[in-house]
């Protein structure tokens, strides 16, 4: 279908993109922005890892180091990872997988995109105008009294949150109201269940972040006396408010990733997903239980022991649905016809790395262990294993999986495998050693450290360079694919999913003819290979 009209070339000109209401174009623009944010946040990571090569000051002052790690965290969390999968891959494929023409509110979708950009502008203003140095968690009383640019960053994040909420509302209504005839809830792909559960969290949790940041801004300007102890406030209350959003937020980060993983494993094992209903319910369970555990970030902050014990118990519970999912993915592979293409390589690394991240989360959830491990590199390693080893790996899996569909071009499989090796090895070099460092007592967010930790830090920094090389190779072959890649067929991976029944790239209204009544499940592969 080369040369035919598709969503990319259907209308031309910058304005047709800026004012588009096509969910696919919006998804691609989001993709560009989140990848840009990832590179910016990654750059800050390289800068901070470079400083950590030596135990004493290398090239950053203490305050500058604080600013660098704060910006790394804030950019990665708010500009990259929270929107990453839902806004880019989700926007592109949710309507298609539902057999719909578009989301329920296309203009609101466009608004979400430009609200995101507005939020990013505020964040950049903060970066260049006296960058914030509070850590991405903005704890009071430091954040209510430091002289760095807190309010623009906090307002930027407030605005970004609004974009997230509107996307969540859009996705929930689309799933409820816009499914194709015959597509009942339990025939939807698991990516949809994942996006739906994510959207529930987005709508319920993000407003609490919004009010928290607003109160922080007010505390800085008019001094309400709510968080700052000098004014009679309670700093732990800030932490309660902040983590009431930020813990569910990490499930906003991982749930869509799990959805992508389910899609990839089904296609590359040519097998129906094992335990489909349980996978769907576990997504909803994760969304619900995620709201019950936020206090595990406050174990040593001055919370009451009753609350602490309650949160520890609930934290153990939240690992159960995730564990169910890992078992089901592995069970899907059993007796499947495995196709070791690059999306599947990222799937495999997800299973391995997310499991490590998840287990170490349970370690941190244990009260007595957390007393020692809190605010050490063990925590840093844990969350990088789940966020990067989990979400980013899944994001890359989805990107490599759906690239031919989105752009109509193939990329070099060989280059992708080489990049994968650099990314996988680099990631583990950076972060595995941090578990060990942390358990030996190396604190996080310190720019100077005891000389005995230097070998660990050097290894970690070298790993960051290997990781960076991997991403630059990736950038290279993706750009090459866009410019000179082979034309992609409609279904290069032989998947049975609905989105592969559209053209590559799809036309503006997705399906060229009315869909037949859908009477089969989402993973229509032959039963076990006999």
């Amino acid at each position: 279908m080369a040369g035919a009209l598709n969503y990319i070339n259907a209308t031309k000109g910058l304005k047709s993109w800026i004012f588009t209401v096509d969910h696919k174009r919006i998804g691609i623009m989001y993709l560009a922005f989140v990848l840009l944010s990832f590179f910016l946040g990654g750059m800050f990571a390289l800068l901070l890892r470079f400083e950590l090569l030596t135990p004493s000051t290398l090239y950053l002052t203490a305050k500058q180091y604080n600013q660098v790690f704060t910006l790394h965290g804030a950019i990665m969390v708010f500009l990259f990872i929270v929107p990453s999968i839902p806004a880019s891959l989700g926007n592109f494929f949710l309507p298609i997988q539902l057999g719909a023409i578009d989301v329920a509110f296309p203009k609101l979708n466009l608004a979400s995109l430009w609200i995101y950009v507005l939020g990013a502008v505020f964040c950049f203003y903060s970066i260049v105008g006296g960058s914030i140095d509070t850590g991405w968690t903005f704890y009071t009383p430091y954040s209510s009294s430091t002289d760095t640019s807190v309010i623009p960053m906090v307002l930027g994040v407030f605005i970004l949150g609004f974009s997230s909420i509107l996307t969540g509302i859009n996705f929930i209504v689309t799933v409820h109201k816009m499914r194709a005839p015959g597509l009942t809830w339990f025939k939807m792909p698991l990516f949809i269940w994942a996006l739906y559960s994510t959207a529930i969290i987005q709508v319920l949790a993000t407003p609490v972040l919004a009010i928290t940041l607003l109160l922080l801004a007010l505390e800085r300007t008019i001094g309400i006396g709510i968080f700052d102890p000098a004014l009679g406030g309670d700093p732990v209350l800030f932490q309660h408010f902040f983590w009431f959003y930020s813990h569910p937020a990490v499930y906003i980060m991982i749930l869509p990733a799990m959805g992508v993983i389910s899609e990839v494993v089904a296609t590359f094992c040519k097998k129906k997903l094992f335990g489909y209903e349980l996978m769907a319910y576990s997504s909803l369970a994760i969304a619900f239980i995620s709201f019950l555990v936020w206090g595990h970030h406050l174990y040593v902050s001055g919370q009451s022991p009753y609350a602490t014990m309650l949160f520890s118990l609930l934290t153990f519970l939240v690992g159960i649905p995730s564990g169910i999912k890992v078992f089901n993915w592995i069970a899907t592979m059993y007796k499947g016809t495995i196709d070791l293409k690059s999306p599947f390589l990222y799937f495999l690394s997800f299973i391995f790395l997310f499991t490590i991240g998840g287990f170490t989360g349970v370690v941190l959830g244990s009260l007595s262990l957390d007393i020692h491990l809190h605010d050490t590199y063990f925590v840093v390693a844990h969350f990088h294993y789940v966020m990067m080893g989990g979400t980013v790996m899944a994001f890359l899996a989805g990107l490599h999986y759906w690239w031919p569909k989105m752009f109509g071009k193939m990329y070099s499989e060989l280059a992708a495998r080489i990049a994968f090796v650099f990314v996988f090895v680099g990631f583990n070099l950076v972060f595995f050693i941090q578990f060990i460092m942390g358990s030996k007592g190396m604190p996080r967010r310190y720019y100077n450290y005891l000389p005995e930790f230097q070998p660990y830090h050097v290894l970690s920094t070298l790993g960051s360079w290997v990781l960076a090389v991997g991403f630059f190779i990736m950038l290279g072959y993706f750009i090459h694919s866009l410019m000179k890649g082979k034309t992609a067929p409609e279904n290069p991976w032989g998947s049975s999913a609905l989105e592969w029944k559209t053209a590559s790239p799809p036309t503006t209204f997705n399906f060229d003819k009315n869909l037949d009544y859908i009477d089969h499940g989402p993973y229509d592969y032959p039963e076990e290979n006999k």
Binding site: A100, I101, D102, V103, A104, F105, P106, L108, I165, G168, I169, N170, I172, V173, H176, K177, M178, V203, L204, A205, T206, P207, V208, A210, I211, T212, L214, L215, L218, I222, G223, I224, G225, I226, L231, G232, G233, D234, L237, F241, F244
Partner: protein
């Protein structure tokens, strides 16, 4: 494609009913997030009232329960007129719908005017948050009460102002005859928003004005 007779159905919807019920669900989800937004303020209120019960009782005497009470009655009445404006739009009674909207707007104005006088009086006597607090009081922490008071009523007032803007827009559209029994979705949506504004005040009033 089956659609409403007046062609108000957007291209990605099958029919007017799907469009209306989607809009309604979307609005309810927006209301859900507003509820969560205000919830943190109520939690903060509960925490600080629990920590400083006598200070709260003392501080609230500087609020006029009569003005707060009138505002409550005004807002409740405006909720009624808002609901009536939806009903009359559904029944093709364009002129009545316009006047019910107008009455709602008028009530909102009364609310904001009374609010203005309340705020002015506080500012005059120095009952302000933190560094600007210069009011009379035996408790050192009184600025916390006023910080919470101004934040809660201020955010609520902001929502009233936004609602007023939306009602003005509805009045203009009603005059042009845009709404009828087939299509009154925007009126219904703004109605839901306005009832939420009323709901928040129903809780704010006793918590701030009627302590002890």
């Amino acid at each position: 494609m089956s659609g409403s007779k007046l062609g108000n159905v957007a291209h990605h919807f099958e029919n007017a009913y799907q469009q209306f019920s989607s809009a309604k669900l979307g609005m309810w989800l927006f209301i859900v997030q507003e509820i969560l937004f205000f919830s943190a303020l109520f939690v903060a209120y509960a925490v600080y009232r629990g920590m400083h019960p006598e200070m709260f009782v003392d501080a609230h005497h500087h609020l006029s329960w009569k003005m707060g009470g009138i505002n409550t009655l005004v807002l409740i009445f405006s909720s009624f007129t808002m609901a009536m404006s939806i009903r009359t739009a559904q029944l093709n009674q364009r002129l009545q719908s316009f006047w019910y909207l107008g009455t709602t707007l008028f009530c909102a104005c009364i609310f904001m005017v009374i609010k203005f006088f309340e705020y002015a009086e506080k500012i005059h006597h120095g009952y302000l948050p933190s560094v600007w607090f210069s009011g009379e009081g035996i408790y050192e922490t009184m600025h916390i009460f006023f910080g919470i008071y101004f934040t809660m009523t201020g955010l609520h007032g902001l929502h009233v102002l936004v609602g007023m803007g939306l009602i003005i827009w509805l009045m203009l559209e009603t005059r042009k005859g845009k709404y009828n029994s087939e299509y009154f979705t925007p009126v219904e949506m703004v109605g839901l928003y306005w009832h939420l504004v009323d709901l928040i005040w129903i809780f704010l009033f006793p918590l701030l004005y009627l302590i002890g």
